[in-house]
Symmetry: C2
Subunit: 229 residues, 2 copies
């Protein structure tokens, strides 16, 4: 096995929760590529592959090292052109950048606020200390203060997904009839919430909830590999 995916892990190595790693898990499944997962804690990342990266996912594919979920997706399409594409053309590669930035700027801070204490609690001891100090410095507030703002985020969360909800009237995936990388981008954000806080933010019959359920079922149901928190 020459393909390794370095993936963020909590104290329970099997509880994969990073939104960015999930994007890559789905990308590799979409391409039908085998790999071995190397679970790492936050504080172990700097030592991976001789200090090659400050973040995961990091993919080793033979002698190639690729970091960042978007770069990995681009790499996989380039390296394995005979397998199903993650972008279906140059236009898709460019437009997926908009959707990446939409997901990041619209959903990620909300998930952070809702789930921050749950994320903290599922980490190992060394990672808990790192997570608390780095996030409190970055966000300028204690984890508990950030979590207090999470209550309002739960209420407003479904509304943030209105563009996706409206789009689902036209087609079943952001990729059209079948999923493409931007589906995995938005899936990653919701899977992050599902696997950490497990907070219900969507009604069961919400078209977005139905789309998320379709995504969980993709590629042999790989998204179900981690249960809801």
């Amino acid at each position: 096995m020459t393909r390794l995916l370095y993936a963020l892990a909590g104290a329970d190595k099997a509880r994969q929760f990073s939104p960015h790693v999930w994007k890559t898990v789905m990308s590799l499944a979409h391409k039908g590529l085998d790999y071995e997962t190397v679970p790492v804690g936050f504080t172990e990342i700097p030592a991976i592959e001789n200090g090659s990266t400050a973040t995961v996912p990091l993919l080793r594919d033979g002698d190639r090292l690729v970091r960042d979920s978007f770069e990995i997706a681009l790499y996989l399409d380039e390296a394995y052109p005979d397998r199903p594409s993650l972008f279906c053309g140059e236009g898709g590669k460019a437009m997926a950048r908009f959707i990446e930035n939409w997901s990041q700027s619209t959903l990620h801070m909300a998930v952070t606020r809702i789930a921050i204490l749950d994320i903290h609690d599922l980490l190992g001891p060394a990672d808990r200390a790192y997570f608390r100090s780095s996030r409190e410095e970055r966000l300028g507030a204690s984890l508990e203060e950030i979590a207090a703002a999470g209550k309002a985020e739960v209420e407003g969360f479904a509304k943030k997904l209105q563009p996706l909800r409206n789009m689902l009237k036209v087609q079943p995936f952001i990729g059209g009839e079948e999923p493409l990388f931007p589906d995995y981008i938005v899936f990653g954000a919701l899977q992050w919430l599902r696997t950490t806080a497990g907070t219900k933010v969507l009604e069961a019959d919400d078209p977005v909830a139905l789309w998320f359920a379709r995504c969980l079922d993709l590629h042999g149901g790989i998204g179900h590999r981690v249960t809801a928190a």
Copy 2:
């Protein structure tokens, strides 16, 4: 000339302001296709082409009639495959649907609230009466009440464009190095505001303002054909 673009007009037939028509104006320019504009008021639309459409843009291309800006863009790429593509692949066609719904659900109601009285005032007499009664019924408030909510929208407008602003750190257009149809989708919304209320909602050095200026300059500066209100 066999190509006709039916386009919404105010009392001044040259003041094209419809966001959807602007998407098509830019699409036709992108493809390098000539056409004649047929300006129509709101109340004239039902009589166009023997009642073919309830909305504009409507494109007549020889014996083909195509309505809806997105459908027109798809048609143009299919009918003129040798000219520059508006989507660059099947992935682009699908992802542009997400961006269309993002623009519509995030920007259009805000522009409506900011500009509704300006739009009313630039229409001819018959259209003013139609516009007032149809919009007041649709939105459940008088035009003046809707416009009162516009003040808050001005303040919050720039923030709604954060996904685009962040994406512009990576590439100059939603289409990548060059514009594609989703650039014209978002351009249409901001051009609508520029040509009706003319309200300043972005700082001059905002990356989104610089992107909008690049869009105005495209295709011989066709976006400048109508001055800012």
